[in-house]
Structure formats: structure tokens, C-alpha cells
Amino acid sequence: MNLFEKIFNYQILSRLEESGTLTITSQERAWLKTMLGQPAAKHAFTEETLQKLQLVLQDESGMDIHKYVMEKAKSRENQVYHPLLRPLHRCIIEEKGMLVSYSTRNGRVHEEHEGYPYKLEYSMVKREWYLLWFHIKHRCKMSTKLSSITAVSELPLPLSIKEVDRIKHHVAILQAVRKTTVRVKVVRQYNRELSRILYAFSCFEKEVSYDEEMDIYEVTIHVAGDEVEYLLSKIRFLGKRVQITEGAYLKKRMLETSKKALERYSEEINLE
């Protein structure tokens, strides 16, 4: 198996695209066959579709890579697929409004709120699906775990095209506004660990700058407001290798964390 096949070449690809010819290689089918063997497949298709796919792929050989590949530090996989993914995706495609009932973190239940769903988001960290939607009455962005949604149905009166456009516009503005910028410096004596540090930040939207004279690297990270806590845990993950240089709130939080952490160990520190 070779990933650099002639058939994947970009010139062939763009030429075929013009004429609408599609090709699928046996490696792709082998991958699909392997993935269809996972429990998630049952939630992704109707029984009939799944049978059709298995029939089409019956002569293909699957991949044996799980014999030789191990995954480490993986979060427990709660859900790869959620039963609500299919209906909600249809709702998004058709740009339909919805009535949604859900419970919040602290257990409060909300019944039949009017909303406009626009994305389904999977967190690789929490291994869980979220619905991103716009709350029509409160005019705000919402993010709700699919597992917290108790019921969802179409709005009795469909949204007008004008209303949909207004909501989309609103969402775009809210997304832009809610981004926070944080700057983090790699402490110079840990420059040798640069690769690891940059890997840790590579899951964020970021830029890196390098001051050659001082031999200092700085990473500028842009995150949405609700992602700040996750960024903070990444910074704590890297410990003394990095230092926040811009972002008053996170700096304050790091100081509080270190003080409080040291209090936990105070007995020992006092003995020294």
C-alpha cells in the first residue's frame, strides 16, 4: 500500500474533476471496510444501507493495521456517532429551525426552545458531539451536548429566507467577536523542546514569531471565549517551559493556580 500513488496526483485529480469522473481505489475501499467494522457504523446508516455497503465491499480485504498499531493516551471513547447526528444534519442542510428541549450542566431542564442549528461539532478531547445553534428568542449562540438533548422537532412555522439570512449574519458577528488573543513565550532554556511545545499548540489557531537575536519564540493563539479553559490546561500541561506574556486573565489564573497548588503542599514546604 502506497499513499503516493500516481492516481492521487493533483493533475489527474483536477482534470478528472472537470469531466465529473470519480475514482475510488482499493486502499480507500479497504479503509472503509475496516471502519464499517466499528460499532459506530450501526448508528451512521439505516440497516438497509449498511447491508448494501457490506455487499459492495465483500470482496475487498480490510486493513490489518490494528494488529501492529497501538493508540496511547486516548480519551475513553464515549461516542463516535450519536443517533441525533443524522436528523440534525438534515435539519442543517435544509436550513430549518427547530424546537429543542435540553438540560444544562447543573441539571436544569429547558423545554421547546426555538433555535436555528448551524454546525455539529466534535471535541477530540471530550470525545463527544455538540450542537452549535442560535437561540432565536435570546439572540445568542448556544453549544449543547447531543447527549443533553431530550427532544428535537421542526418548527411548526418554517423560518423565512430573510430570517435565516439575518441569523447567519448574527452568528458570523458573534463568532468574530468572541475570539481572545493570548501570547505565550517559550522559555529560552527549553528551546530544545520547541517541537513538542509547538505540537501541543498545533490544535489551536495560532502564529509563531521568532526573535533571532534573543533566540526567543513566541506563540500567538486565538481562541473563542469558551475555549480559554482548555488553553489554560494546555499551558499548565507544559508547565515551566512556557510563560504567558499577553493575556491578563490567563496570567492571573496561572498565578492563582500556582499559589493554590503550593498551599496543597504547604505542610511539606514548611518542614523544609
Binding site: 493495521i65 497501538m70 454546525k119 455539529l120 466534535y122 517541537s195 509563531v208
Partner: protein
């Protein structure tokens, strides 16, 4: 022709992705161990390929390469670096010919002679007309990668596209298939074949529905985009493992300044920082979800050896070893890996830590996270304010960052040297921020 290597492109894209914008041309070229001229040439080439491979919804043509591969989460879940796998070089005439063959087979089955006619009539004037031998070898290639197959069992054979997967499904079912491929290639490893399939299905759906909304509903948070670059070596290594063969490669430790260097024609000019040649027997491949990195775990004269796949270049298979040796070594490695947080095969130690739950009515997100990420560790004691988590793990180095990421919600109880380490580190961190 020598086997084409993509090491330079892989290292180039990785550095671009990780250091986004940090280096100027000279600094970038120097760290890659290539000349500025080669750097410019590679940039131009990759930019062209990126633009040609991008989905119609993303316009990268006018962008600088660093911007084109910049991670912008809200726009799309398209895998930014997939175009690496589209860089296999091909003669112009060959790509035109193969395209004509496939186009001719779109929707009908044809014999070799019919295909020669179809191709000949379409070849541009400045290109040589294909002869029978060439077309036959093209067909053989396309059959070998599973893109076409023979329709009938006896001569003259008729060839057709192997696209039942698309043809047997209704439009509705194709959306379900696209969704499944999208979800699995984004959340599982390996991903590259899934992404390639996703790319084809996406184009097909865009043609069917003529709007992007059908394919852009899913987003994936906190993705390690560069992880798919390492899959470039994955199948070479798996093949070597299957055949119980050693591999030979030039290794650049991630701690070195340089990450690649063009093959030197005169070995006398090779310096230490230009990578070291290794030969080792691959036994297992490990994917680390914490950083999105791949490792090769192998065995050589010094015992178990671990290599980051991102540092491996000039990889090739070497001699095979007896099956019994392979089995013995694999079994020994597997036993050690049972208690490694990532890949540490050192001495096991029992780590105990107290985690503090948030005050009610906050839900206990600390406990949820420990259960989610704590691998095989267990909660051994519990009261209303806190719980004790215990795990036996090889060494403390790999688990330490995870424990530290909980901040003051985690107090290490044992071993004492880990406890002391944590105290020292929190003191230093406090110093960083106390002056502000």
C-alpha cells in the same frame, strides 16, 4: 528512475504547520538543511499543488502558502495537509492519457482497442499518440490500484470503472456515507485513505446538490493537523513489520536544529547534526493522542529503541529476521508497553494523586476528566470533596504533564520524588507571574 522520496515535502509542510510564520526564507531553508533556491522551488511547487487540490469552496490560489495552511477552525473541516499525497510527479502526457482513459470509461465499458481510439482522438497535438503497449500498461496500473476492473471473464476484455460504491447508493445514502467517512477519518487513525475518499465523495455531492451546506456541517475541535504527514511512513513500516524486516533510515532527533537534509553525495561532508543512519527492526507503531504524534518502536543491538516518525527520512526496507526472534521481541515489548502512559518502557512505579472536586452546584468535571483520560488508573478512595486516583505506570515523565494540567485540583501523594518535582515546578511558575 530512482524511487521518488517525499521527505523534503513532508518536513517542509510539518515545519510550516508548526512554526507558522516564525521564519524567513533563509532561516526556514537553513533549518530544513536545503538551499534557499530549493526552498523557493519547493514553495512554488507545493503552492501550485495545494491550489489544484483544494476543494472548490476554499480559495487558496491567491494566498501565500503559510496562510493557505493556516488553521482556521470555523471555515472548514477540510484536512489542510492532504495535498502532500497528491505530489507524486507525473509526466504531462501520462496524466493526460490516464485522465482520458478514465473519462472514456465513465459510464461505459470499453475494450483496449476502443480505448486506444478514444485516447488518440483526444490527445493534444503536441503530445505523442499512445501505443497499445502503453495503454495496456496504464490499464494494468489502474487495475492494480483498484480503480477499474474487467467486466467479462474472456477476451477481448472490457474494462469499466470500479465505482459500484457510488452507483449502488441513493443520494440520501450518499450523504450518510459522506458523513460516516468524514467522522471516521477525523476521529480515528489512520486517516489519509478516509480523507481521500471524503474528497471524492465531497466533489460528487457538490455536483449533485450544488451547494456546500450538505458537506460542511461537521467541525472537529482540537485536531492535530500534522498527524497525517506521519502516515506517509506508516505503510512502509507496516509492510516491514509484516515481513519481519529491518528498516534503514536517517534520523533527525526532534531536539536537533535541523529536521532534514538533502542526501549528500560525498559522505565525508556529513556532519553529526545532519541526521544519523540507523538500522532497526520495527515491532510496533504507536499513535500518541496527547500530541498527535506517531512513534516506531523497534529493536536493535542496544535493545528496545524508539523513534519519532517525524524524524525519520530516507526510509527503506532491509534484511528479514527469523519469525521466532520477531515473536520473542514483540512479546517482550508488548509486556512492557502494558504500563506505559505513552511509550516509556522503564521501571513501573505506582503514582497516587488526590483530585479535588469543584464546589457544588458545579458538576464534577474534574472526576469526569480523570475518568475520560486517566487510562487504566483507578479511583481507590472517594469522599465529598476529593478522590484518590492510583495508577502503575512506567516512570513519571510521561504522566507528569497530564497531572500538572489539572492545576491546583491535583495533589500528587506518591512517589515522593514526583511530589517534590511538582512543588519545585509550581514554585517556578509562581515566580513567572508574581511580578505582574
Amino acid at each position: 528512475m530512482a524511487k521518488e522520496s517525499f521527505d523534503k515535502e513532508i518536513q517542509f509542510l510539518r515545519m510550516l504547520m508548526l512554526t507558522s510564520g516564525a521564519y524567513n526564507r533563509v532561516q526556514f531553508a537553513e533549518r530544513l538543511g536545503i538551499s534557499v533556491h530549493t526552498f523557493d522551488k519547493t514553495t512554488r511547487r507545493l503552492k501550485e499543488i495545494a491550489a489544484a487540490s483544494a476543494s472548490p469552496s476554499v480559495n487558496t490560489k491567491d494566498q501565500e502558502l503559510p496562510l493557505a495552511v493556516r488553521y482556521n477552525y470555523y471555515e472548514s473541516a477540510d484536512p489542510l495537509l492532504l495535498f502532500l499525497f497528491r505530489t507524486k510527479s507525473l509526466k504531462e502526457s501520462e496524466s493526460v492519457r490516464i485522465t482520458h482513459i478514465l473519462e472514456a470509461l465513465n459510464g461505459q465499458a470499453l475494450t483496449v482497442m476502443e480505448l486506444i481510439d478514444a485516447c488518440s482522438s483526444k490527445m493534444p497535438e503536441d503530445m505523442p499518440l499512445p501505443d497499445e503497449k502503453t495503454i495496456r500498461s496504464d490499464l494494468k496500473y489502474l487495475e492494480s490500484v483498484g480503480v477499474i476492473h474487467k467486466k467479462n471473464a474472456s477476451r477481448p476484455y472490457q474494462y469499466q470503472l470500479q465505482d459500484e460504491l457510488l452507483r449502488s447508493l441513493s443520494d440520501e445514502e450518499l450523504i450518510d456515507l459522506y458523513d460516516f467517512v468524514d467522522v471516521m477519518s477525523n476521529t480515528q487513525v489512520p486517516s489519509v485513505q478516509g480523507y481521500l475518499l471524503r474528497d471524492s465523495l465531497k466533489k460528487h455531492l457538490l455536483r449533485l446538490f450544488d451547494e456546500a451546506s450538505s458537506t460542511e456541517a461537521f467541525l472537529y475541535k482540537y485536531h492535530y493537523h500534522s498527524r497525517i504527514l506521519d502516515e506517509a511512513h506508516l505503510y512502509t513500516l507496516l509492510e516491514a513489520i509484516r515481513h519481519r524486516r529491518r528498516v534503514r533510515f536517517r534520523y533527525f532527533t526532534p531536539k536537533a536544529e535541523k529536521t532534514y537534509t538533502a542526501q549528500s553525495t560525498n559522505p565525508r561532508f556529513e556532519r553529526e547534526d545532519e541526521g544519523k543512519w540507523h538500522k532497526s527492526l520495527p515491532l510496533k507503531i504507536v499513535y500518541d493522542h496527547q500530541y498527535g504524534r506517531w512513534y516506531m518502536l523497534s529493536s536493535d543491538r542496544e535493545g528496545i529503541r524508539k523513534f519519532r516518525m517525524e524524524g525519520m527520512t530516507h526510509l527503506e526496507e532491509a534484511e528479514s529476521i527469523p519469525e521466532t526472534d520477531f515473536q520473542l521481541k514483540t512479546a517482550a515489548l508488548e509486556e512492557k508497553l502494558q504500563t506505559s502512559w505513552l511509550i516509556d518502557t522503564g521501571t513501573p512505579v505506582t503514582v497516587r494523586a488526590r483530585f479535588f472536586s469543584p464546589e457544588p452546584p458545579e458538576p464534577d468535571f474534574i472526576k469526569q476528566r480523570v475518568l475520560l483520560q486517566g487510562q487504566w488508573g483507578e479511583i481507590v478512595e472517594e469522599d465529598e470533596q476529593s478522590f484518590i486516583y492510583e495508577i502503575t505506570v512506567n516512570g513519571i515523565m510521561e504522566i507528569k504533564p497530564w497531572l500538572r494540567s489539572f492545576g491546583s485540583s491535583c495533589e500528587v501523594l506518591a512517589p515522593s520524588h514526583l511530589r517534590r518535582d511538582m512543588i519545585e515546578e509550581w514554585k517556578e511558575i509562581q515566580d513567572y507571574y508574581e511580578s505582574i
